[in-house]
Structures are given as structure tokens and as C-alpha cells.
């Protein structure tokens, strides 16, 4: 706060004596450091500082809040929850049984675009009540195996999805890969197919270094109970972007994952037909499934929290600044006034 200048003191006697040093003298050497006299800045909360601090916060926070709120309001988001509707009416009391059966799981949904959406439009799937952050789940993977074709037997952490019954290593092993999401969406507008670009949906760094170019899926989902998607064994892991996205486990039990990008604008009032394969079984834990189409802003998706929080804090600080200004005007206390010292304030005990 206030810049300090070196405090000038006690240096004089020290240097005077050291001019005629005694032999074997144990006199501590004088330095500003050892005498705890380093130049220092000693902030105190003067009214000026308090009020300016509050004002500064409000001046910074209110514009950020406004900008954030606008950014969030600009985002157009369409959410379609489909997990119940995509089960035929007669199977709805035994959804799990339906999922296990070989029945056709194709499902058609219709989405109406409410507002003009500028490309790129991101297509997400959203799962609810899916604890991708469960400790048993998060740990069930082998990063060594994913990276390096030589490490395919590095499966100690992958149990219970580590080997086939014959003892061959599964690549990619572990619960995470085993339970990969496998609903598919195809979108059309006015009977015209809307292309979903599935390239570049994962992190560049993951593709480059974490998922090996020479690692190909092996013995994957060969067991009796496939948990999710199968992988094309001729494509290396570094190009299996759905897998890469899925393997970046979510932090919270409700999460979205990027499915692809639509690279054309959508107009308000457009009706979009979604043909989806409802393959992924979330029914045994009442997980919800949602399809989300959303544009994005510099701040991310549609979320007013940041804007509101910044505005609130900024406003509060402004009020506080005003409040303290009033306090200091009405009932000022002279700083450093010795008459406030406890032994001066109440003479005679009480």
C-alpha cells in the first residue's frame, strides 16, 4: 500500500564500534537484516485505503459482471431429454430388460430452434447421476497402456476389466473405457442431413501425446457383457476421439461431453429431426440422458452464475464503500490517537 523507505536507526553506534574492532569480539555484525531493520512497507487500514479498496473491487467487478452476463445471455442452448421417451411405451416398466434385448433402439426426436444459432454449434450429450468421479471408476485405467504399444500388459490398475477370460490384455483396459457412451445421433433439417463433425472434439494434447498413434484396440468389449461402445480395431487410439473425450472423466456427477460440431448456422424456427440410437444403458441407475445443442461464448456455455456473482460482489462493495464513507464522516477516529489506548480510555479501572 504505502511504499516504505528504509527506517533509519541504530546503525550509527554499530558502525562506530566496528571501526575499532576488538579481536575475537563476538559483537553481532551489523546489517539491516540481522537487526530486523530492512526497508519495509507497513500497510495500515486508513479510511482512504479501505474506501478505495472497496471502490476498486466494485469498479472492476461490475463491468466484468455485465460483460459475463451478456456473454451468457448470447448463448443459445437447446436441451432435449430423451431417455424415457426413447423407450417404447410397452417396455417402460422394464427399461433395463429392453436395453438388454436385441430390439431396435432407433428413436426419432424433433427439436425446434428457438433463436438464430451461429456456427459452430456444439452437440453434447449430457448424463445425470453418473459418478464418473467415483474412486473405483477414476482409477480404473492404464495411462501407460494408452500411450505406448509396448505397454499393453501394463494393466495392474485396470481390474476388473483388465484381461479377457483367456488372459489376453484388453486395450484399452479398465472400467472407463469399458463403459464408453455409445448413443449415436444423426441430425437432419428439412430432410437434409446436417453434418456433425467429429474431428477435433478432443484436446490436442491428448491426441498427440497421451493416446498413442501405434496403439490399436485389442480384445475390447469381447467379454460376455459389453458395457458400451465398441472400437474399430484398425484405427489407432489417437484417432478414436470419442474414446479420448470419454476418458477425460468428468468432475461432477452431472456432466456433458462433446459429441461433435455442426458447422452451419441454424435459423430460428428450424425444425431438426434427430435420429438416435438409444444404446447406452443408464436405466439401472436412473441416469438421465440429454442431447444438447449449444453455441458458445468467450466464457463458455450458457451459465449466468459468473455474471450474477460478479455483479453482486461489485454492488456489495460499492455499498460498503459508501457505508464506510458515512461512518468515517459521522464518527471519525483519529488514527494513532493515544487517547484511545486502553489505559488512557478508562482511567481508574472502569
Amino acid at each position: 500500500m504505502n511504499s516504505g523507505t528504509p527506517s533509519s536507526s541504530a546503525g550509527a553506534p554499530g558502525s562506530a564500534e566496528s571501526a575499532a574492532p576488538r579481536r575475537n569480539s563476538k559483537r553481532p555484525k551489523y546489517s539491516r537484516f540481522t537487526q530486523q531493520e530492512l526497508p519495509a512497507c507497513k500497510p495500515i487500514l486508513t479510511p482512504k485505503w479501505v474506501i478505495s479498496a472497496f471502490l476498486l473491487v466494485s469498479v472492476v467487478f461490475i463491468p466484468i459482471g455485465v460483460v459475463s452476463l451478456f456473454a451468457s445471455r448470447d448463448v443459445v442452448e437447446i436441451i432435449d431429454r430423451y431417455e424415457t421417451e426413447c423407450i417404447p411405451l410397452d417396455s417402460r416398466n422394464n427399461k433395463t430388460g429392453f436395453m438388454w434385448s436385441n430390439a431396435d433402439k432407433t428413436c426419432n426426436r424433433i427439436i425446434t430452434v428457438t433463436k438464430h444459432m451461429k456456427q459452430p454449434i456444439y452437440v453434447y450429450y449430457q448424463l445425470d447421476n453418473f459418478y464418473q468421479n467415483h474412486r473405483r471408476y477414476v482409477k480404473s485405467r492404464s495411462d501407460q497402456q494408452l500411450r505406448n504399444p509396448g505397454n499393453e500388459r501394463d494393466i495392474s490398475t485396470c481390474s476388473p476389466e483388465d484381461t479377457t477370460p483367456e488372459g489376453l490384455p484388453i486395450v484399452p483396459c479398465g472400467l472407463i473405457a469399458w463403459s464408453m457412451f455409445n448413443d449415436t445421433y444423426s441430425l437432419s433439417r428439412n430432410n437434409q442431413q446436417l453434418g456433425i463433425n467429429k474431428r477435433g472434439i478432443s484436446w490436442q494434447s491428448d491426441r498427440d501425446r497421451k493416446f498413442g498413434k501405434g496403439v490399436f484396440p485389442k480384445n475390447f468389449q469381447n467379454g460376455t457383457a459389453p458395457g458400451g461402445a465398441k472400437l474399430n480395431e484398425s484405427i489407432p487410439l489417437s484417432e478414436q476421439e470419442d474414446l479420448i473425450v470419454w476418458m477425460r472423466t468428468a468432475a461432477l456427477p452431472t456432466f456433458r461431453k462433446l459429441y461433435g460440431k455442426i458447422e452451419v448456422d441454424l435459423q430460428a424456427g428450424d425444425v431438426i429431426n434427430v435420429t438416435l440410437q438409444n444404446n447406452y444403458n443408464t436405466y439401472n441407475f436412473n441416469g438421465k440422458k440429454k442431447l444438447v445443442l449449444s453455441t458458445t461464448s468467450w466464457l463458455g456455455g450458457k451459465n449466468d452464475f459468473m455474471g450474477i456473482a460478479y455483479l453482486t460482489v461489485g454492488g456489495l462493495c460499492f455499498c460498503l464503500a459508501m457505508g464506510f464513507m458515512l461512518i468515517y464522516l459521522i464518527k471519525p477516529r483519529q488514527l494513532g490517537d493515544p487517547s484511545y489506548l486502553s489505559w488512557n480510555r478508562n482511567p481508574g479501572g472502569h
Binding site: 554499530g14 576488538r22 559483537r27 553481532p28 530486523q36 526497508p39 519495509a40 512497507c41 507497513k42 500497510p43 495500515i44 487500514l45 473491487v57 466484468i64 468421479n133 467415483h134 474412486r135 473405483r136 495411462d143 500411450r147 481390474s159 476388473p160 479377457t164 477370460p165 472400467l175 469399458w178 484436446w203 494434447s205 501425446r209 497421451k210 460376455t224 457383457a225 477425460r248 468428468a250 468432475a251 461432477l252 456427477p253 456432466f255 462433446l258 444403458n281 463458455g300 456455455g301 451459465n303 452464475f305 459468473m306 456473482a309 460482489v313 456489495l316 462493495c317 464506510f324 468515517y328 477516529r333 488514527l335 494513532g336 490517537d337 493515544p338 489505559w343 488512557n344 481508574g348 479501572g349
Partner: protein, 1153 residues
């Protein structure tokens, strides 16, 4: 204590064959003279160091957690990661220990390789110390250090005397005499090789006792303490000495005595442990919540568990179908969840805080030691921190118990006044010309110089040099002869090489240094010398005194040493003219009774002397009375007979000697009295005044007389004229009780027996009583003076109590009365107290209040008190080093106590108090943040943070700033603290660390942890955020938050603080970049991705501001409406400086324009 029996009857004597080391060591293998103070060798360093380190609870806790983590169902962290904190502290401590040990090794090596002369092959050859063995005969020359404990066989002196200096052993700088047995000494001087057997006791640490006998040519004679010279002492004033090694190396008494003093634990640390129990409760609550949550969650999802993709308790593969995978049933899973949550939340209990505190105290000690204001140039001693555990206790001292002699006073006695033949000579009219003239008289005739110069009284000089014939003159002559001869002082002559001006009269100038056991005697001899009676030489048979340039040789027929029963000493002297005189000096009480009462002419003189004595002691001077008498031939013969008989007696020697002394110590003629000043140390009154203003009660415990104690009390401004003195000096229990009760009744002191509650209430109501204004107070502080609340009608009270009464009071049940009376007095003086009583008084206060006590003293008699008090301070003075060895802190002067308590004590207390609270907060906020997240992961103890970050958090990310702040922060400058001693009361009120502060901190912690958790949660709900990004955000957010929190509370920003705080954040980023650059980790690349996103930065900013807003508001409100004393003083200090700077600035502006 174990009583040593005489050796011949001892079961297991140690046999030493003189001059036959082989035979001596063959059977028993006594240890050689190699010493080892180091703890470790290269080989055993690792196991031994680890073993010692694991004696600490903290490390065992770390170890238990790490071990728990190795169990497969609990492996929360990776195996190596979990060991990291333990390894880290082990390594740091091991490096520290290793360095200290290396230094010890080095000094051992130097010591072991010193050389000394050892008798081998019929000649003395130099030999390394470490090679010396028991049984060998060693020759020591003057000023050499003695390599091992030896029995003296002979010296160059025919009487077998050797003088040694025991500075290294007990710190006493005076010379001590040791004797070789005549039997051996004769042989040595003849040059015969001695062979015989010494039987001595087994090695022990008692340096004041030695029991042995020697068998020489079939003759057996006893050896005692006076025949042994100990390792570490120096031979002085003796050309050479020869001795046989009896104890070598580790067996020597010096080595056996080199144990460290026991460690104390600070008050704040005990409070801290109390709060740690609260933290453990929180920890347990959190773990139980997680475990119960886990149990309930499993119960609710029991049927789905098999199919939950993220739980999967069974195998699906063929062959293992239906087999359980890491699932042990709900109760077991709940239990494991409890254990693993303990692992995750382990740092809730800030075990590392103990290590942090040690480092911080080390740093604080560094500054205390380096403080130039606490360097004593006269003794060339720095402040010493001997105990590293109680720095902060210095900030909360309420009672100071001080020794007098050597602590308040310099213990440099100076001859001030004399009363000779009823006339007082006090040099009170410093007539410059006269004294100069007188000086010339002496200087002309003197060929030597003394180390201390006393200005002689001109009148007395005139008397001595101008008319020696009168009765008065004779008395004066004898007076000074007595001073010069009746003592045990040894003069040491040193040829001073080049002081030309003194050598006017030819002969090379000689300087005389007087060595003696009592500083009083040294002062008296020096005084005699100043008046021209210089003690020149002393042997056991004669002394040489130089009287005005004329050397007189006096034959010493006998000497009765001072003892505490007679309280006097006497010497029988034959003058060159064959008159024989007894010269006596002693305490006034013991002398007047043995004076010759038959001569009424001297009654007047006696009366006047008595008056002078009273005057002297009321000025705080120490007095001695001198007397003499002539001995007739018969008396001499009878005495000589009895004296020789007594001297050679083996039983009851001291009683017989006392009886013999009584023969000649009677019918004495009074010569006069001396008064010696025990000078107050510099700055003592000011220091005591400041301590009292600071609300510290200063008690003086002294062995001196009541009058002397009171006069010292007055001169150091402890007692003032307006005080009511309560004097308790009873001779029986009843008398003491009566005196106590009377005093209490008179001054309205309520005794606990009748109205304890009232006392208690009142004591609470006025935690720091108000002081009367004094002249040292600064004028800028308007001082409202108020009388003592306690005694509104009587003014302040002073209690003076003597040792006799204390015996009755402390041993009987009068303790509580004394306590009540003493605590309501402003000053307490205890005189004539024995060392153990000093400890008893300290214990009385310690046992009955919660207040902190500090004892300060310099002598061996203060050791028990120093060890008893919460803080013991030793003065490195003249009386030796025992007090220093037993103390926690040692310094050169009493006045440093003011700076030690008011400045360093205050700083240390503030720093450690804040450090503890901050560390509680720092760890708890992190753990709570993890806890909230675990509630969102189906109670599965997942941590979003990477393993390494969780471990680094308390070790690397946030540890350095706390240490730096704990060492360097200071709220007020030393000048302000010394100017307003009352600021010290903040420590008494426990302002920096108390229960309510703890709870406020905990509430703040809860809020901050909620902010930390919920801001990212709300911001990233229903988004694509992955667990590592979230963890990365939380890591950096919590590190920034706690560092900014710390930054908000720092009172003094120096360069190092900036470096530590902002450096920590940068280091954290660095670590995260490194951790995210390793593709083998699942969190690879996270940070690179995150920093591109504005939401990440905005989240951090938001967390920091919202998290700290309540704290800031609270702080501002508190400082605006309820400013603390420290706050006001701080504002005053800073604003004053700023104003001054502005003033200077404007001045320079004017000049430049």
C-alpha cells in the same frame, strides 16, 4: 542423591597402577582418552537418526498414515506419493542433525589431536590426547589445559601446590589450589619414578567430590578432592605439575557433566495442543460423515451395485463370473471408507506445524542472538538461546524473580568508604588538587600497576604518610595490613612489556592481578594496594607486602579460614621485629561480641564505628569490621600446639579448628570498618521501571541482609518512598502468622481462607493494574494517574520478608496467606534466602496462578530457581556459568531483560500466535474443500487434486510464507514497544492466541472452504469440465487464497516476504506445469488447456475476493470501532513517520526550488 562411601570399603574400586598403563587397563579395559561428543558415525547415522526421530509423535502419525495407505483397499494416494511428506521431514531433520554432528566431529577431532607430555620410556614425550590411557603419568606445563582427570603427584613447588582455573568446568574464573601429597611430591622432585596403586571410586559426575587412596611402598594414605585436577581445567601460576591419569576420555567428570538441560514446553504450545484436539474432533466428524454416507449410499444402491458402470463390484468375465471385485460387504466398505478418509484428511491435524514452529523459533533465535542491543561489550558476550522451545513465552511473562548480586549489581566490588579508629573516610570531598597530590605520592613509589584504580581518600593518605606515630596512625597502618594480609587472595605478577611511562624508576613495570575466591577480598586487597599496602607474594608460609615501596616479609603462622558459623577469618602473623599479631576481619554481628570490653576509652570508637556501619549499610554498601590484637608468647605456644593438632586431625577437623580459633579471636582491638559497594549494573532502574509499567511484577530474592536488600531496592527504584513497607521477619511460626495476618488486616487484603471468591473476582476485574506516572514516561502520552485500586487508602505496598520467616511459611500451611499478601503488593523483596527457598517461592507463584514466571540469576545459587521458573534467564557474570548452563536464555546484563521481554518477547508471541492460527486455517480450508467434493463423488474419497499436489500443498506450496512471516513479521518497531511498555499487556491478555480467535478462524475457514468449493461448482455445473481441470483450478485457487489471506495480515512487508508469498504462487504454478507435462499422468496437459480459458481466471478472482471479503470487513470494522492498543500504537508509529517524511520532503522541495 547417592552417597559415596569411602573407597577402601567400596565394593568395586577402580585400580590404577601408576606408571603402568598396561597393567591398569589389562583387566578392566578403561576407556581411553578419546572423546566423542558426536552422536553418530557414518555407519550408524541412518538407523540411529531414524530411531531418534521416530521418538516424536508427529513422525509416528505420518508413518501410521503412510502405512495405512499401503493397504490395498485404502490406497488413496499412490504408494510413493504417500511416503513423500514423511520422507521430506525425515530428510530435512536428518540433514540438520547431520550438519550439527559434523561440527561436533570436527571439534572432537581437534580436541583429540592435541598433544601433551606423557612419561614413556623414562622420559616425557609428547603424545596425542586420544592416545593417553589411565595409569600413565602426564606432565602439564603452566597455562596448558589438562587432558584428563589426574591425581596430582608433584609440582615444581616444594609444598606440592598447583593452581588451576576451572573456568571450563564450572565457569568460576578464580584460581583454586590443589595439592600433591607430600609423599609423592618428594619423590617427584627427587626424580624418582613412582610406582604404586591408586584405588578410586568409579567414574561419576560429581565435580566437587573425589574419594580415593594411594598405596605407595606399602604405605597407604587418603586422597581427596584437593588432590585431583580435572579435564578441561587450566594449570596456572605453576611451572609444571605431574599427575597420574585416573579417569580418561568419556569417564572424566567434565564429559560426564556435559548433559543438556531438560526441555520446556511453551504455554502457547499447550494451548495449541488443546485446539488440536478440537481439530481431531472435526476430523473425526468428517470421516464419520463420509463413512456413514458411504454406508447409506451402498445400502440405497445395493441392488444396482452389480450393474452400476462406475462401481462394478463383480467380475463379468468368464471364469471369474460373479466373483466379487474389491468388495467386502457394506460394513467393511464403510469401515474402509472411514480409514481412507482419514488418509485424505490427514493434514487437518497440522503435524507439520510442529516442524514449522521449530524452524520459526530457530529463525527468531537467530535474530535475538544477532541483536546488537543485547550484546554486552564488557564481557564480550552475545545473547544466547539455549532453549528453542519457549521463545513465545517471553511475551507473556507476569512475574520476574531476580537475584540481586551479579544480576542487578555488577558483582564487581569496589572499596568505597572506611571507618578507621572512629573516623569516617569516604572521599566525599573530591578535592582534585589534594587527590592528585596524594596520587603523586604513591605513583612515584610504585613500580607496578593495578588493574583497577581506586582514588584514595586524600585525608587518609595524609594520615598514612604524614603522621604514623599517633594512635590513629598506628590503627590505620594495622588496618591496611589486615586488609592486605587477612585474606586468601593470590597475587599474580605479570611482566608488562612496553608501558614505558610507568617504568620511571628503572625496573621493568609489573602488573599485579589479584585472584581470589571472593570478590570482596579482591576489592579489599586492591584498596590496600591503592593506599600503598600492596600484597606482593603469598605462599603457604609467608606473605610479602610492599608498604610504600618497602617490602615487608611477614611470616604466616596460621590462618583460620572464613566459615559460616564464625563469620570471620583471622590470620596469625609474625612481623620482622618478632611481634606476633592476630589480624581478624568479619561481619559486624560476629565481631562486636569478641572485642575487648575492658577498655572504656575505646567505647566511644566502638559506638562511632557502629553508627558508621549503619550508615554504610543503609546506603547499600557491604560492610566488614577489622580488629587485631597482640599475642603473648604463652598464648602463641598454646595456640600453636592446638592448631597443629587440629590441622592434622582426621576427625572433626573443622570443629577443632573452630575451637582453636576461639582461643585467639577474643579481646580484640577494633581497628575500623570497611564499606564495599556492590555497584548496580547499568540501566537497571530504568529496566525495572519499564518492566513494572508493562505489568510485570519484579521480585527480588537475595541472600543479603534485610537492610542491604532494602537499600538496593531503593537504589534500583523498585521501592519508592511513598510505599508502605510490610516487613515480615518472624522467628517462629506463630510470629510469622501473626505478622502476616496483621499486615493483611491492616491493608485490607482478603485471605483466601475467608473470601477467596472476592479476591478472584477482583483479580479478574483488573487484569493490569494501573501504575503511577513516573519520570521516564514519555510526555506525548497524557497519563491519567490513578491510585491503586487494591489499597485505596494506603498507597502501594511493598513486602519485605526474610529467609527465616520463609522457612516457617513455606513449610507450614501459611503459603496461601503469603500468596495473597504478596500478590497484592507491588513489590516483594525476599532477603537472606537459601537457593532452595528461591525455587520454593517461584513454585509458590507457579502453583497458584496461571501466570508465567521468569527467573533471572547469575550464580550457582540461582540454578534451582532458574530451572523451576517457566523461563530461566542466566546472566553470564562473574559467578560462573552454572546459571547459564541451567538457563533457557543467557545474556550479559540485566537491562537486556527489558528488550528481551518487551521487544523480542512481544514479537515472538505475536508471530507464533498468528503462525499457529494461520496453520490451522491453512490446513483446515484445504481439507474442508476436499470434504465438500467428496460429498459429490458418492462418498468415494476421490480427490480432484492430483496426488502430488495434495502432498505438496502443505510441504511446498504454502509452507515457506508461513515460516518467513513467523520469523520476519513485526507489528511494531522496537522503539515504540520500548516507549510504551504497556503494550506488553497484549501478551498478558493473550491477544494473539485464544479460544475465541480460534473459533473465529474456524468460522472463517468454513466460509472460505465453501467459497472455494461452490464457486467452481456453480460456474461449471452441466459443463464439460473434467476432474483434473477442476482439481487444477482448486489447487491454484486454494494456494492463492491462503497466500492472499496471509498477505492481508502481514504487518511489515520486506523483500523476503514478497518473495515468499508471490514466489509460492509462482512455484505452485511451476509445479503444476511440470506435473501436467508428464504424459504418464492422466492429468496431462490440463494446465495448458485451462490457462486459455477466461472462465478459469475469473473463477480464481471471484474465489479470492468472495472468500476474503468477510474477513476484510470484519477486520475493518474491528479496527474502526474496537481498535486494540497495538493497532493504535501502530497507526501512531506509521503516521508519525509518514508525516516526518513528508515534512522532510517538502523541505527539500523548497531547497531545490
Amino acid at each position: 542423591m547417592q552417597l559415596e562411601e569411602n573407597i577402601p570399603h567400596h565394593d568395586n574400586p577402580r585400580l590404577i597402577h601408576i606408571n603402568d598403563p598396561k597393567k591398569t587397563n589389562d583387566k578392566f579395559g578403561f576407556s581411553g582418552n578419546e572423546i566423542r561428543t558426536s552422536k553418530y558415525t557414518l555407519l550408524n547415522f541412518l538407523p540411529k537418526n531414524l530411531f531418534i526421530q521416530f521418538h516424536r509423535v508427529a513422525y509416528l502419525y505420518f508413518l501410521a498414515i503412510a502405512a495405512l495407505n499401503q493397504l490395498p483397499p485404502l490406497a488413496v494416494f499412490g504408494r510413493t506419493v504417500s511416503l513423500f511428506p514423511l520422507l521430506f521431514v525425515l530428510t530435512v531433520t536428518a540433514v540438520k542433525d547431520g550438519y550439527e554432528d559434523w561440527r561436533r566431529h570436527r571439534s572432537d577431532r581437534n580436541e583429540n589431536n592435541r598433544e601433551t607430555l606423557v612419561f614413556q620410556l623414562n622420559e616425557f614425550h609428547p603424545k596425542r590426547w586420544k592416545k593417553i590411557q589411565a595409569g600413565e603419568v602426564v606432565k602439564i606445563s603452566s597455562d596448558e589445559t589438562i587432558p584428563c582427570d589426574m591425581v596430582l603427584l608433584g609440582t615444581n613447588d616444594s609444598s606440592g601446590i598447583a593452581y588451576i582455573q576451572t573456568m571450563n568446568l564450572d565457569g568460576e574464573s578464580n584460581l583454586k589450589t590443589r595439592y600433591a601429597r607430600q609423599e609423592t611430591n618428594k619423590l617427584v622432585l627427587e626424580g624418582t619414578t613412582i610406582s604404586g596403586v591408586v584405588r578410586c571410586e568409579q567414574p561419576n559426575r560429581n565435580i566437587y567430590e573425589f574419594m580415593a587412596n594411594m598405596e605407595l611402598k606399602g604405605q597407604r594414605f587418603p586422597l581427596s578432592q584437593s588432590n585431583i585436577i580435572l579435564r578441561g581445567c587450566q594449570l596456572k601460576n605453576t611451572e609444571w605439575a605431574i599427575g597420574v591419569v585416573v579417569y580418561a576420555g568419556q569417564d572424566t567428570k567434565a564429559m560426564l557433566n556435559s548433559a543438556m538441560s531438560s526441555s520446556k514446553r511453551s504455554r502457547l504450545e499447550t494451548y495449541m495442543n488443546r485446539e488440536t484436539i478440537w481439530l481431531s474432533v472435526f476430523l473425526l466428524i468428517m470421516c464419520v460423515v463420509v463413512a456413514l454416507g458411504m454406508g447409506l449410499w451402498l445400502k440405497r444402491h445395493e441392488t444396482q451395485l452389480d450393474t452400476l458402470p462406475y462401481y462394478r463390484k463383480i467380475y463379468f468375465q468368464k471364469g471369474k463370473e460373479g466373483k466379487k471385485y474389491k468388495y467386502y460387504g457394506i460394513p467393511m466398505e464403510t469401515f474402509f471408507s472411514l480409514l481412507s478418509s482419514i488418509i485424505v484428511f490427514q493434514i487437518m491435524i497440522p503435524i507439520s506445524l510442529y516442524i514449522t514452529m521449530e524452524l520459526v523459533r530457530l529463525g527468531q533465535s537467530y535474530f535475538m542472538i544477532g541483536d546488537q542491543h543485547m550484546y554486552d561489550s564488557s564481557s564480550n558476550s552475545r545473547f544466547q538461546c539455549r532453549s528453542l522451545n519457549i521463545n513465545e513465552d517471553l511475551g507473556q511473562i507476569r512475574y520476574v524473580f531476580s537475584d540481586k548480586t551479579g544480576t542487578l549489581t555488577e558483582n564487581k566490588m569496589e572499596f568505597r568508604k572506611a571507618s578507621i579508629w572512629g573516623k569516617n573516610y569516604d572521599n566525599s570531598y573530591p578535592d582534585a588538587d589534594a587527590s592528585l597530590e596524594a596520587k603523586d605520592v604513591t605513583v612515584d613509589r610504585r613500580k607496578w600497576k593495578l588493574k583497577s584504580e581506586i582514588t584514595p581518600d586524600p585525608e587518609l593518605m595524609k594520615l598514612l604518610y604524614k603522621d604514623l606515630s599517633g594512635e590513629e596512625g598506628v590503627a590505620a597502618h594495622e588496618f591496611f595490613l589486615t586488609l592486605a594480609s587477612c585474606n586468601t587472595v593470590i597475587p599474580i605478577l605479570t611482566e608488562s612489556s612496553s608501558s614505558g611511562c610507568d617504568g620511571v624508576l628503572g625496573g621493568s613495570p609489573v602488573s599485579i592481578d589479584y585472584q581470589g575466591e571472593s570478590p570482596d577480598e579482591q576489592a579489599l586487597v586492591a584498596a590496600a594496594s591503592a593506599y600503598g599496602y600492596t600484597l606482593f607474594e603469598r605462599t603457604s608460609g609467608h606473605i610479602v607486602i610492599d608498604v610504600n615501596g618497602e617490602k615487608i616479609r611477614l611470616e604466616v603462622l596460621g590462618l583460620h579460614e572464613f566459615d559460616s558459623v564464625r563469620k570471620r577469618m583471622s590470620v596469625v602473623i609474625r612481623f620482622p621485629n618478632h611481634t606476633i599479631k592476630v589480624l581478624v576481619k568479619g561481619a559486624d554481628t560476629s565481631m562486636f561480641s569478641i572485642l575487648d570490653n575492658d577498655r572504656p576509652a575505646e567505647d566511644h570508637i566502638r559506638h562511632v564505628t557502629q553508627v558508621h556501619l549503619n550508615d554504610y549499610s543503609s546506603e547499600g554498601l557491604r560492610t566488614l569490621v577489622l580488629a587485631s590484637r597482640n599475642l603473648t608468647g604463652e598464648e602463641l605456644a598454646e595456640w600453636q600446639h592446638r592448631y597443629e593438632d587440629a590441622c592434622t586431625s582426621l576427625t572433626d577437623r573443622s570443629v577443632k579448628l573452630r575451637q582453636t580459633a576461639a582461643l585467639i579471636e577474643c579481646n580484640l582491638t577494633l581497628l575500623g570498618a570497611t564499606a564495599i559497594e556492590d555497584k548496580l549494573q547499568e540501566g537497571v532502574p530504568e529496566a525495572i521501571e519499564s518492566l513494572r509499567q508493562a505489568g510485570i511484577k519484579v521480585w527480588i530474592l537475595t541472600g543479603d541482609k534485610q537492610e542491604t536488600a532494602i537499600s538496593i531496592g531503593l537504589s534500583c527504584r523498585l521501592l519508592t518512598a511513598d510505599m508502605n513497607q510490610i516487613i515480615i521477619n518472624g522467628n517462629s511460626e506463630n510470629e510469622c502468622r501473626k505478622l502476616l495476618c496483621d499486615a493483611m488486616a491492616k491493608y485490607n487484603v482478603n485471605s483466601t481462607s475467608c473470601s477467596s471468591q472476592i479476591t478472584k473476582l477482583r483479580r479478574k476485574a483488573e487484569p493490569d493494574y494501573l501504575e503511577l506516572p513516573s519520570q521516564t514516561k514519555s510526555s506525548s502520552m497524557p497519563q491519567q494517574c490513578a491510585g491503586e485500586e487494591d489499597t485505596p487508602n494506603f498507597g502501594p505496598l511493598a513486602l519485605i520478608i526474610d529467609g527465616n520467616s520463609l522457612v516457617y511459611i513455606l513449610e507450614r500451611d501459611l503459603e496461601s496467606e503469603l500468596f495473597d499478601l504478596a500478590t497484592s503488593c507491588r513489590v516483594v523483596l525476599c532477603c537472606r534466602v537459601a537457593p532452595l527457598q528461591k525455587a520454593g517461592i517461584v513454585d509458590l507463584i507457579k502453583g497458584r496462578t496461571d501466570e508465567m514466571t521468569l527467573a533471572i540469576g547469575d550464580g550457582a545459587n540461582d540454578v534451582s530457581m532458574i530451572q523451576m521458573a517457566d523461563v530461566g534467564v542466566g546472566i553470564c557474570g562473574q559467578e560462573g556459568r552454572q546459571a547459564v548452563m541451567a538457563s533457557d536464555f543467557a545474556m550479559g546484563q540485566f537491562r537486556f531483560l527489558k528488550r528481551l521481554l518487551l521487544v523480542h518477547g512481544h514479537w515472538n508471541y505475536q508471530r507464533i500466535g498468528y503462525l499457529v492460527l494461520y496453520n490451522f486455517y491453512r490446513n483446515a480450508v484445504f481439507v474442508l474443500m476436499l470434504f465438500w467434493y467428496i460429498l459429490c463423488t458418492a462418498f468415494s474419497t476421490t480427490s480432484a487434486l492430483t496426488d502430488w499436489s495434495s502432498v505438496f500443498y502443505s510441504v511446498i506450496y504454502t509452507s515457506v510464507p508461513t515460516i518467513v512471516v513467523g520469523v520476519l513479521d513485526k507489528n511494531l518497531s522496537d522503539k515504540t514497544l520500548l516507549k510504551y511498555p504497556k503494550l506488553y499487556a497484549a501478551g498478558h491478555r493473550q491477544e494473539s492466541y485464544n479460544m475465541s480467535l480460534f473459533w473465529i478462524t474456524m468460522v472463517d475457514t468454513l466460509w472460505q472452504s465453501l467459497v472455494l468449493f461452490y464457486v467452481p461448482l456453480f460456474n461449471y455445473r452441466e459443463s464439460t469440465i473434467d476432474i483434473w481441470s477442476m482439481g487444477s483450478l482448486w489447487t491454484i485457487a486454494v494456494v492463492i487464497l491462503v497466500n492472499v489471506h496471509l498477505a492481508m495480515d502481514i504487518q511489515r512487508w520486506v523483500f523476503v516476504t514478497h518473495l515468499a508469498i508471490w514466489g509460492s504462487i509462482i512455484v505452485t504454478y511451476g509445479c503444476m506445469v511440470v506435473l501436467d507435462s508428464i504424459p504418464a499422468f492422466p492429468n496431462y496437459g490440463t494446465i495448458y488447456h485451462l490457462v486459455k480459458s477466461p472462465a478459469y481466471w475469473l473463477s480464481i478472482l471471484l474465489i479470492t475476493v468472495i472468500g476474503l471479503l468477510p474477513r476484510f470487513i470484519f477486520k475493518v470494522f474491528h479496527q474502526t470501532f474496537w481498535p486494540s492498543d497495538i493497532q493504535i500504537a501502530r497507526e501512531g508509529e506509521i503516521l508519525r513517520r509518514r508525516r516526518r517524511r513528508r515534512h522532510i520532503g517538502s523541505k527539500t522541495d523548497e531547497v531545490s526550488s
